[in-house]
């Protein structure tokens, strides 16, 4: 079997021993009505309404959408237009916390009898993929094809982030229960949990817990970026190549993040939807780095204050990881469902772009065997034919090419621009 290209990045898992800590409630939270791929929700509450923990505050009747729930109890202060990190607009509901955390009476374990009620329950849980992309889980768990492998993504190959790792360590039983329910409802015979070998504790604990379960296989994978990329993980765990235009489910595979499995189990057992999230907070100006459990909608500024960040020294604020995370310009942005980390840095790399010297490092780093230098050249000329020929559409923006480029060219960024260029051209 061919080994995929990969790169070694510094791990910087400084927070791996920081147990998840529930931080004090903020004064208010601002919950965007769209935190996933798909249609934004319409608020189901009005200003001055009283809301309770777990209460639904937004929904949408389009299937490809996910309802939104409140993680705090209190009063709706405002409903305003909100610009998301990706530039699109949706509504956001701001709730003034009363500090009582009264649990809504709608919060009760779902009744699951068959596949249909299971999928409905998953949607009602407000679940999205917690790895970062935010794909609606009820869509992912409702494939047309027969699934034979459920692949749990515990690779967490991004530097700094340890929120999945802490979840695996602290809630292995709940996570495995969540996996078992999904496997049972979708009649999936095999389960693989893929974990990078820089997390030996997680591999050990899950191996012990699944020792008597022959259906669940815990795989220790080399710590090479991007091990947690969906196609990469599928190839390294099952040897299958997901072809262009196909979905993993076409090969009988579903890939799910380990934290998603845990959050699903919480909902199945208690009825509490996805209203809070573990966030790794780290960076060179964070004094109290750690993993913090916060209600969705908590402002990043509040979390940074709690982590004793020297806010006036921030030069770059990133949500997500160093390799694929998104920089934000507004410190009051709320934490969304799929935010797994907040990283704040004073020292940042600013490098001047030099001409390509055709050294080929990007090509040898690309896990999908693309030729970023050719794509770069083609995009400069807006040459759609070459962009299609060199398969820019396959780029998953893992950033390996940009990382290794000695001329510091923004190759991954160019690929995304090229994809948009092709989309707009049609």
């Amino acid at each position: 079997m061919k080994k995929l290209n990969s790169i070694k990045v510094p791990h910087n898992k400084n927070t791996q021993n920081s147990a998840v800590e529930k931080i004090p409630l903020p004064q208010s939270v601002k919950i965007p009505m769209c935190m996933n791929m798909g249609k934004p929700c319409t608020p189901t509450v009005k200003v001055k309404d009283t809301v309770a923990v777990g209460q639904k505050i937004g929904d949408c009747d389009v299937p490809f959408s996910v309802p939104v729930h409140s993680g705090v109890s209190g009063t709706v202060k405002s409903i305003s237009d909100y610009r998301m990190i990706d530039g699109n607009n949706c509504k956001a509901v701001e709730i003034e916390c009363d500090g009582l955390q009264t649990v809504s009476d709608t919060v009760k374990p779902p009744v699951i009898t068959d596949r249909e009620s299971f999928i409905k329950a998953v949607r009602e849980s407000g679940m999205v993929g917690l790895g970062g992309a935010g794909f609606p889980t009820h869509i992912k768990l409702n494939p047309k094809n027969k699934i034979d492998t459920l692949l749990l993504n515990g690779a967490e190959c991004e530097p700094y982030i340890t929120s999945d790792y802490r979840t695996m360590l602290e809630h292995p039983d709940e996570m495995l229960d969540g996996i078992r329910i999904v496997a049972k409802m979708l009649e999936i015979p095999n389960v693989i949990i893929g974990i990078e070998n820089n997390k030996p504790e997680a591999v050990k604990i899950l191996k012990e817990k699944t020792a008597n379960d022959s259906n669940i296989n815990v795989m220790s994978l080399p710590s090479l970026y991007p091990q947690g990329g969906e196609k990469v993980l599928i190839y390294n765990c099952t040897g299958k190549i997901v072809e262009e235009g196909k979905l993993p489910s076409d090969y009988g595979i579903i890939v799910m993040n380990v934290s998603t499995a845990y959050a699903l189990d919480v909902y199945f057992k208690t009825g509490m939807p996805l209203v809070s999230r573990t966030v790794t907070v780290d960076g060179d100006i964070i004094k109290k780095s750690g993993n913090y459990l916060v209600p969705v909608g908590t402002s990043i500024e509040y979390i940074l204050d709690y982590a004793q960040c020297e806010k006036d020294k921030i030069n770059k604020l990133i949500t997500g990881g160093m390799m694929m995370g998104i920089t934000i310009y507004d410190i009051t942005q709320p934490v969304t469902k799929q935010n797994n980390a907040v990283l704040a840095f004073n020292k940042i790399e600013i490098s001047e772009e030099l001409p390509c010297i055709r050294c080929g490092r990007c090509m040898r780093a690309c896990p999908l065997d693309l030729m970023p230098m050719e794509l770069d050249k083609a995009y400069k000329k807006r040459d759609a034919e070459s962009l299609l020929k060199y398969k820019v559409n396959l780029c998953m923006n893992c950033g390996c090419c940009t990382y290794v480029c000695p001329s510091k060219r923004k190759l991954a960024e160019t690929n995304q621009l090229a994809k948009a260029f092709l989309r707009n051209k049609k």
């Binding site: 995929l4 790169i7 990045v9 510094p10 196609k231 190549i241 072809e243 262009e244 235009g245 921030i314 030069n315 770059k316 604020l317 990133i318 997500g320 160093m322 390799m323 694929m324 995370g325 920089t327 934000i328 310009y329 410190i331 840095f345 940042i348 790399e349 600013i350 490098s351 030099l354 001409p355 010297i357 055709r358 050294c359 080929g360 490092r361 090509m363 896990p367 999908l368 065997d369 693309l370 030729m371 230098m373 050719e374 299609l388 020929k389 060199y390 398969k391 396959l394 923006n397 950033g399 940009t402 990382y403 290794v404 480029c405 000695p406 001329s407 510091k408 923004k410 991954a412 960024e413």
Partner: protein, 309 residues
């Protein structure tokens, strides 16, 4: 104000400048071998070539109103490589013309670093070879061969005389260009580049292997042919230039074999005793075609038939 950029937010610490520096370091053993063999004048020729390449690069960038690029060290590499491709007795003004051809004509007029389609030092060597054939094929006797080394005594290149011992070829005690005589230094430098990951071993192995095999079949001594002439210099340092050679391993293999065949043909049947630089020049020119032909297939890509999409 926060800085907003696209991901990734960390970079590897390898830079273009560092790559050039490593190439310069790798050239030093062979260059020092050349200095020992040919003495002070070899040092002067090297300094003149390097300095004039850097100055030409700086001036062209100023005249063209482009950002200054001298600090990327690529002009230094070109200068040193050019000097290594010249006989020690070359008139200084001819060396300067060589630098002009390399930096201004071959490189900057095509857009500078990364845009040249032929190796600048190779083109300069060939232009000098065709323009000043007599000066370019006058080979000084190594200075520790004869005691009166101050006089320029011409000798034949070992490729013509075919009488040098393996040991002399190995340590550089023969006539030839400044940088091509010391096989030991070239091999050390080449291995250094391979083990630091700067170059792939495919091209040098294919190039040298093809020449050796062809000479063996032709009934000549392959070891003699590997050690003499510009083969090692060309194979390790010129045929591995990033900009002017193919990207993929398959492309590099084709490039190396092509260079080997052309070198063999010129050495055995051509009018010139040496064919390494012509072979690299010719293969440089067809590199875009090799690249096109050997492009990688992306993982899981579905290529539609002709006319589709």
């Amino acid at each position: 104000m926060f800085k907003v950029t696209a991901s990734p937010h960390i970079r590897d610490n390898m830079t273009t400048q560092k790559i050039m520096l490593l190439v310069i370091i790798s050239l030093l053993p062979a260059l020092i071998g050349g200095f020992i063999t040919f003495g002070l004048r070899a040092v002067i020729v090297t300094l003149v070539c390097t300095a004039s390449c850097v100055i030409f690069e700086a001036l062209t960038r100023i005249i063209m109103k482009r950002p200054q690029t001298v600090s990327d060290l690529s002009a230094c590499v070109t200068g040193i490589l050019l000097a290594m491709n010249l006989p020690v007795t070359i008139p200084i003004w001819q060396a300067v013309i060589g630098s002009f051809v390399a930096v201004v004509i071959a490189k900057q007029l095509f857009g500078g670093l990364g845009q040249n389609f032929v190796n600048p030092a190779i083109l300069a060597r060939i232009v000098l070879m065709l323009s000043f054939t007599a000066d370019m094929t006058t080979w000084a006797v190594p200075q520790y061969w004869k005691e009166n080394s101050a006089d320029i005594v011409t000798s034949a290149t070992p490729l013509v005389s075919r009488d040098a011992s393996y040991w002399d070829l190995f340590i550089g005690n023969t006539g030839g260009c400044i940088g091509e005589v010391c096989a030991l230094g070239l091999i050390i430098g080449g291995l250094f580049l391979i083990f630091t990951g700067i170059i792939s071993p495919v091209t040098p192995l294919a190039f040298i292997g093809t020449v050796a095999l062809a000479e063996l079949i032709a009934g000549n001594d392959p070891i003699y042919h590997i050690l003499s002439g510009g083969l090692l210099l060309g194979a390790f340092f010129m045929a591995t230039d990033y900009v002017t050679t193919p990207l993929t391993s398959m492309g590099k293999l084709i490039f190396g074999i092509g260079c080997g065949i052309i070198t063999f043909v010129i050495r055995e049947f051509g009018g010139y005793p040496e064919g390494v630089s012509f072979s690299i020049l010719l293969m440089n020119i067809i590199t875009p075609y090799i690249d096109n032909f050997t492009a990688k297939k992306a993982l899981g890509a579905v290529y539609a038939g002709k006319g589709d999409k």
